[in-house]
Each structure stands twice: as C-alpha cells, then as structure tokens.
C-alpha cells in the first residue's frame, strides 16, 4: 500500500507505504487521530485515497474491491449489531449477504468459536459491549476470509475475553488467515503481531517485528541495584553511569547491557553490598510512548 488521504488542509494519511505478508498478523498502532482508521478504511474499500494505490490480494481496492469482497472480513471500530436480531440470526443474515446459506448448526458453531453460544438466542440489543464485539468478530469471520481486518477488536472486553480473543487470533493465523489489527493495547500487539507499523500524524514512524522495533527504538535496560544505598550510588556515578538513588536502591540506566558485568566488578571492589538486582527492558509500550512523545522522523 502506498497512499495518502486528506480532508480540508489536513493530511490524515501522509504518503505511507507498507506491505503485509500473507498469513501474518499485522498491527497498525498509533494514538487517536494518527490516521489508523483512515488507513484501514482505505484498505477496506470504504474510503477512496486522495492519491497512491492500495492493493489487497493483488487487487486494486479503489476500483476492484468487489472482486475480493468475498475474501475479506471486517470488524469496524464502531461496530453495532442489528439490535433486533438474535446472534444466530445475525450470523445467518450476514452469511446471506455473502451469498451463503448457513444452517443453524453452522451459525452456532461460529458463535461458539467466539464464546457466545450462551447468548445466541438473546436479542443483540441486550448483549454487553464485549459480547457485541464478539458478535462482530463472528460476523467478520462468516465468509471464512483470507484477510481479516480487526479494528480495535478487544475494546470493551474483559481480561479473560481478551485472552480468549488472542487465542482465536492465534488459531486463525494457524489456519493461514492474514490478520490486519489495529489496537490501543500495546501488550496485545506485542504478543500477537508478526509485524507492526506505528503511525503518528499520518506518517509511519516505526516498522518491523515487535523485537526489531524495541531493539531499534528502545532506549536501554533499567537496572535496579537493591540495597546498594548511597555508597552504591557514589560508585556508579564514579563509573560514569546514569544513576539515581531511590530509597536504599540505586536505579541505573544501562544503554548497553554488556556494561552491567563491569559495574558489578567495581561495586564489589568498593565493598558495596547489593542484596538483589532486577533488570527491566523497554517494552513496546515504552517505545511507542517514546516515539509519539519525540515525534520521531519517518522510517
């Protein structure tokens, strides 16, 4: 995809380009207003780009989306089910909209896969927010899509339901489904994604696997020397480390983890007693917040 979309004088999506490999879980991350939904809607054929092109399964979306519609499943961000249909009826109806004649058993099976069996005979308007999202996911899967767009699928889900959905996404991936995910939950993206793009102000500011992004844009490891005290702080400062005292612990920023061994040697020689040590590496969330805060340059 290489595309741009603008309204008035605002470039909501500004000349971005990325490729999603078949069978991948691809996550598009960004804060509110970063351009994620605009990008997704261009790919879903719901919005025409101002310039550039977007292709899915080799088909240009702007003029050939009807050819691939059968192979794409979509859960929109603001999904609301048809409120006067029961979940199984909604699945049956949605199947019919794709030209499929689903049996009640097939509808029930699909609902079971999103853990909604117990609600299949309840009118959709009585479902909780999380259950509505689950129904939306079931509808998105009704045509057994090759490409599945999930726009913030776990918003409103409780922790267990989130984990269940992660398992479902993993299962779909194993079946070979390409999943395009947008989410605000960085832990979710880190766990699920093969490839991530981080957007800021309509541009892509970081791209790669979660590990690559953390390595490339992460700051350092943070080492906490428990019980090292004032003496430990002085020794670390003497060694030129970026260290601070927090109660009786010394917190040291380690740009290069290989330095840690040398620090310990110095601490030992200085007679500093360290009761324990913890190392915390930057998470994807740390990197994301750092990139957004700094407004890093385009990748």
């Amino acid at each position: 995809m290489t595309t741009a979309w603008r309204y008035d004088d605002i470039r909501a999506v500004d000349d971005i380009s990325f490729t999603v490999e078949a069978g991948q879980v691809f996550s598009l991350l960004g804060h509110n207003g970063a351009g994620k939904t605009t990008t997704v809607e261009i790919l879903e054929g719901l919005r025409n780009s101002t310039s550039g092109s977007a292709r899915i399964l080799g088909v240009e979306v702007s003029n050939g989306y009807s050819k691939i519609r059968q192979k794409v499943g979509i859960l929109p961000q603001d999904f609301e089910p048809f409120e006067n249909l029961k979940p199984w009826e909604a699945v049956e109806y949605w199947g019919a909209l794709f030209g499929l004649k689903l049996t009640k058993a097939q509808c029930s099976e699909l609902l079971r896969s999103v853990d909604l069996s117990h609600r299949e005979n309840l009118l959709a308007k009585h479902l909780s927010g999380g259950e509505k999202r689950k129904l939306g996911i079931a509808l998105a899967m009704v045509n057994r899509p090759e490409v599945l767009f999930l726009d913030e699928p776990t918003t409103g889900l409780d922790p267990k339901a989130r984990r269940d959905l992660w398992n479902l996404i993993g299962e779909l991936k194993r079946r070979g489904t390409t999943i395009f995910l947008t989410t605000h939950y960085l832990d979710e993206a880190e766990v699920l994604s093969d490839h991530i793009c981080i957007m800021n102000h309509g541009k892509i500011v970081a791209e790669g696997s979660p590990k690559q992004i953390i390595q490339q844009f992460g700051r350092s490891a943070t080492v906490t020397l428990i019980g090292a005290g004032q003496k430990g702080l002085e020794e670390m400062l003497r060694q030129g480390a970026d260290a601070t005292l927090l109660n009786e612990d010394v917190v040291v920023c380690a740009p290069d983890p290989a330095q840690i061994e040398g620090w310990f040697s110095g601490l030992s020689k200085a007679g500093v007693c360290v009761k324990d040590m913890s190392i915390r590496r930057d998470t994807l969330e740390d990197v994301f917040l750092s990139l957004i805060a700094k407004g890093k340059g385009v990748v």
Binding site: G45, R47, I74, P76, D78, F79, L97, F98
Partner: protein
C-alpha cells in the same frame, strides 16, 4: 420541537385557510341540448346566483362519456325540448314539469353548493314565469357509470394514499438515519450485497405490507361500511409506484439530512402538510386557490387523484395521467437519491 411548535402552526394555517375563507364559486359544466329561450333564461338565472361558474359543454358531446373522461364530480344538463316543456307547463298547470338534470357526487362538499344554486335558479324562474307555481324542476342523478358515492367512497382512496406515503416516507427516512448513525451502511458496504439489491428488498417488503394494508382496508370498507369502490389492477400499480416514490423521497431526506432528529422533523414538516393538502381527507377543490396551487406540487395529490379515478370513478384515462406524474416524480427522486446516497461515506 416539531410536534410542539411546527405542527400546531401548520394545522391552524391549513384549516384556518380552508374553513375561514369563502370557497367562492363552484365550477359547473353545463350541456344545453335545448338552446331555446327558456334554456337561456335558466342559464342566466343560474349565473345570477353567483354561486357557480358555468362552463358550457358542446351539445355534440356524449355527456356521460364527457363526465367520465373528465372525472367530473358535478355537471348539469338541460335536455332537448326544455323550452317547449316550460311553455306547456306555463300554459297548462296539469302538464308535467320541465326538468334540468343535475349529475353529482354527494360525497363532495361542492355538491351542496351546486344543488343549492340550481334549485335557486329553478325557483327564480318559477317565480318569474308563473308566480311561484312550479313549472320547472330539478332532477338529481348520480354520476354516469357510478352507483352514487358517499363521503366514505371518497375517503377510502385518500386513506390508502396517505398510508402509502406515511409508511414508505417515514419508514425509509428513519431507516436511512439509523443505518447511517449506527454504521450499518458501512457494514453493508463490506458485504457482497449491492445498494440496488438492498433497496429492492426494502421496496418488496414495503409493497407487500402496503398491499396487505390495502386489502384489509378495502374489505373492512366494503363489508362494514358498504363502500362502492373497485379494486382495479391500476390500484395495485398505484400502490407500487407510490411506494417507490416515497421510499425514494425518504432515502433522499435520510441521505441529505445528516442528523436523525433534524431529518425526522423535516420529514414531518413535509409529510404532515402533504397528508392534509393532497386531498387525502378533503377535496382539494374545497381549499382556497393558493392551497390548491401548493397541492398541485405534491406528489401525493396525484397518487390520491389516481386512486380515486380508478377506484371510485372508473376513469382509467385520467388515472393514467396521474400515474404518469407519479412515475415522473419516482424517476426524479430515485435518480437524485441513488446519486447522493453513498454507503461508504454514510
């Protein structure tokens, strides 16, 4: 807001205009088959009542066919030999009365005025010719080809037209607003269904509902109230055309007006006046001139007129003219709504 302020204002303006003003003169087509001096004197007397505006129908016309072709609710005929009958009646008290024949639909409000004016002209001539001794009289006939109509016969097609309008217009505006607000259109855009297929299903559903409503209304009207209206094939064509017309109008309103509350208020502002002004409940000819002008721009007027022409008066020709107007409105509104409505940007 609409029901609090706009509706009462609209109703008082409409009914105030309808009932507080003088209707003026009633148009009365007259065929003079006599052409003699008594006929001229009668027409002069009729004219002097000031209640009717005489429109002469050529004597060569088949009067029954003329009444039917023009869907006339009123017409007067002076038979051949009228002047001779008057002369005989004046000279011979035992001779039978000379008669003018008033054809009319008693269900129309204008009928009473025409009957009163004709009766007045008859009495005026009786007074002048024979000192109030009856020498001529008025024969009242139902309209040719009809069994005589009641107000309920007039009312039934109006109710059907109003139902077609309200079900389709309000239903479709509400659907379009809620579908857009809840993102259903965007959802539908991600499936394989096409816009025209969706619209067709709505049309089929509404048409089936309206035909069901028509049949129920008709059966109740005939069985319970003895209405003498006919369920012609053209009636069903009008139902389908009207349904498509108001579905298109509702789709257009639901598309153009983004806010659902504003949309419903504007739909009410269009639908309610149309319900009353398009002749659903009262004959349009009983309205003041400017309201009749307003009614002529309302598509429901032609739907109501067409339904009455085919169901009540059996005037297929006039009904087809009304149908042509309805279909023209369908074409314009369907094209406009389909061009303006986008599921993607909804």
């Amino acid at each position: 807001m609409f029901f609090t302020f706009m509706l009462p204002v609209l109703l008082i303006a409409m009914f105030g205009s309808m009932f507080s003003q003088s209707v003026g003169t009633v148009s009365l087509p007259v065929q003079d088959l006599d052409g003699g001096p008594a006929a001229h004197a009668f027409l002069d007397a009729l004219n002097r009542t000031g209640a009717v505006s005489i429109q002469l129908v050529p004597a060569t016309e088949d009067f029954s066919a003329y009444i039917k072709d023009h869907s006339l609710a009123l017409a007067l005929q002076i038979p051949a030999g009228f002047s001779d009958s008057v002369a005989q009646s004046v000279s011979n008290a035992n001779a039978s009365l000379a008669q003018v024949i008033l054809f009319g639909d008693p269900s129309r409000s204008t009928y009473q005025m025409a009957q009163g004016a004709t009766n007045g002209a008859v009495e005026m001539m009786n007074f002048q010719l024979a000192g109030a001794r009856p020498v001529l009289g008025m024969q009242v006939e139902t309209l040719p080809g009809t069994k005589g109509h009641s107000y309920m016969d007039f009312f039934l097609p109006g109710v059907i037209g109003m139902t077609v309008m309200s079900v389709s217009l309000y239903g479709m505006t509400e659907i379009c607003s809620s579908y857009r607000n809840k993102g259903y259109f965007k959802l539908l855009a991600t499936t394989t269904i096409r816009k025209y297929e969706w619209l067709t299903t709505k049309f089929v559903v509404y048409s089936a509902m309206l035909i069901g409503s028509l049949l129920v209304t008709y059966v109740i009207g005939v069985l319970a109230f003895g209405m003498s209206v006919s369920l012609t094939p053209l009636t069903f064509v009008f139902i389908l055309a009207g349904c498509f017309l108001f579905i298109s109008m509702g789709m257009l309103l639901g598309t153009v007006i983004k806010d659902s509350e504003t949309g419903m208020a504007i739909t009410n502002a269009i639908g309610f006046p149309m319900m009353f002004l398009a002749g659903s409940f009262f004959p349009i000819e009983s309205f003041p001139g400017f309201l009749q002008g307003v009614a002529s721009f309302m598509p429901l007027t032609y739907l109501n007129n067409g339904l009455r022409d085919t169901m009540v008066y059996g005037n297929t020709g006039a009904a087809l003219v009304d149908l042509a107007v309805v279909l023209l409105a369908v074409l314009i509104l369907a094209l406009a709504s389909s061009r303006l409505m986008s599921w993607k940007e909804a």
